[in-house]
């Protein structure tokens, strides 16, 4: 993942068992206790909506909801998430179809390369849960922790506005 010392052997300490709610269902998983929530979601549970881009809290691509709040899953340890309620971008789908936020992103061409979009979806859902009719300023503040490397912010903001109208 990161440039390291080339050692392949992992002196992994004993894995521990964790359980938490993920997208509405209970999951049980074994993992090293200081694995990040992101690593566990992607590599152990194969939930790949959250992405690792920067790995240090700058980009927001790994954003998930934890107990209703947007958090960076690259900066949460699995030990800290034990017993928590986690929702990833996948968790908002209804009957395997995009929900109104996801649909608004598609309708507005807000998705370019798409890499950042799961994080933007989670931040948008968190915003609209607490503020169903945000101003443009409030949208910008709520999405300040998500970077789009295609710089498609204007259409993303339009998508959030449209989602808010449909809410």
């Amino acid at each position: 993942m990161k440039a390291g010392d080339g050692r392949l052997k992992e002196q992994a300490i004993v894995e521990k068992k964790f359980s938490f709610r993920l997208n509405g269902g209970e999951v049980f998983v074994s993992a090293p206790p200081a694995h990040t929530l992101l690593e566990v979601l992607r590599e152990r549970l194969h939930v790949t909506g959250p992405k690792e881009d920067c790995g240090k809290g700058e980009c927001g691509a790994c954003t998930v909801l934890m107990n209703g709040k947007p958090v960076l899953s690259c900066l949460v340890l699995i030990s800290q998430a034990n017993g928590a309620e986690i929702v990833t971008s996948e968790g908002f789908m209804k009957d395997n179809l995009p929900d109104y936020v996801q649909k608004a992103f598609v309708d507005n061409g807000a998705v370019q390369c798409g890499h950042c979009i799961p994080g933007f979806i989670v931040s948008t859902e968190a915003l609209l849960n607490r503020n169903p009719s945000p101003t443009v300023g409030e949208i910008k503040t709520a999405l300040a922790g998500n970077l789009c490397r295609c710089t498609g912010y204007a259409s993303i903001i339009r998508a959030v506005q449209q989602a808010a109208q449909k809410d």
């Binding site: 992992e10 990040t36 340890l77 030990s79």
Partner: protein
Amino acid sequence: MRLSEIDVVSPASLKDALSVLRDRSDRIKPIAGSTDAIIQLKEGLVQAKELLDLSRLRELRYIRREGSTVQVGALSTYSDIIESTVLGSSCRMLVDACRTIGTPQIQSRATIGGNLANASPAGDSIPPLYVLDAIIKVQSRERTRQIPIKKFFIDYRKIDLMPDELITEISFEAVEKPCDATFLKLGLREAHFISLANVAVWVRWEPEGASLSDLRVAMGAVAPVVIRVRKCEDFLRNRTLTEDAIWQAGQIASRESSPISDVRASIEYRRAVIPSLLYKALHTLIDSRRTWEKP
């Protein structure tokens, strides 16, 4: 040290956490919201074989007011502070400062106790706590200490906290008329930025006119630790806040600073912006004061 090689201890109570810390403070590192700690560990800036995770200790996550004293549990997150009705009416300055820290995702996790323990000279919650004359409560299994904030910060990233102690509470007097307070920071962009300089100002207005019977001014990111600019305060105390007086006070504050040049700004720039920051902060307070007099 890779994260996968580190063990994590998750105590169920503060008492348990303090016991663990007493027994193995030499090899265990406490973490709270861990928005800085995990980065420091990933980048090898900090080594640890074991982490003591405090983030699930609900008992240190409270914001309450008793009489005129506001008490903030050390594990209160920035989101807790931003959403607190108690702080909204008792100390708007701290709410405003926390709103400028990181991003919504960081604010969900990062704690005010963590900001103090991390002890960055640019920590944005620290200047407000300086001008509030906050008391930092630290506890070990054996004892509790109440430390005035100016004594808590000793030197660059050096705080008065023993290896077996945890920061448990921050307390201060509510800010109420005729007092007021404000926080202002300057960075290179509009969101998610580290202060290249910041200022907190607390004032007590005279009953009439634009003069101050008392004030406290603290500045961050302009010295190895957050500083109170005492000469600037002395100059402004009992003085009418004319434009001239405010600019002179800014020059005095600038001379009291000892900034460094870094990736965010040069020494010269930091020195030059200090008067402007103070000017804007004082004018925010003057404008606020004018609204009090309206019928």
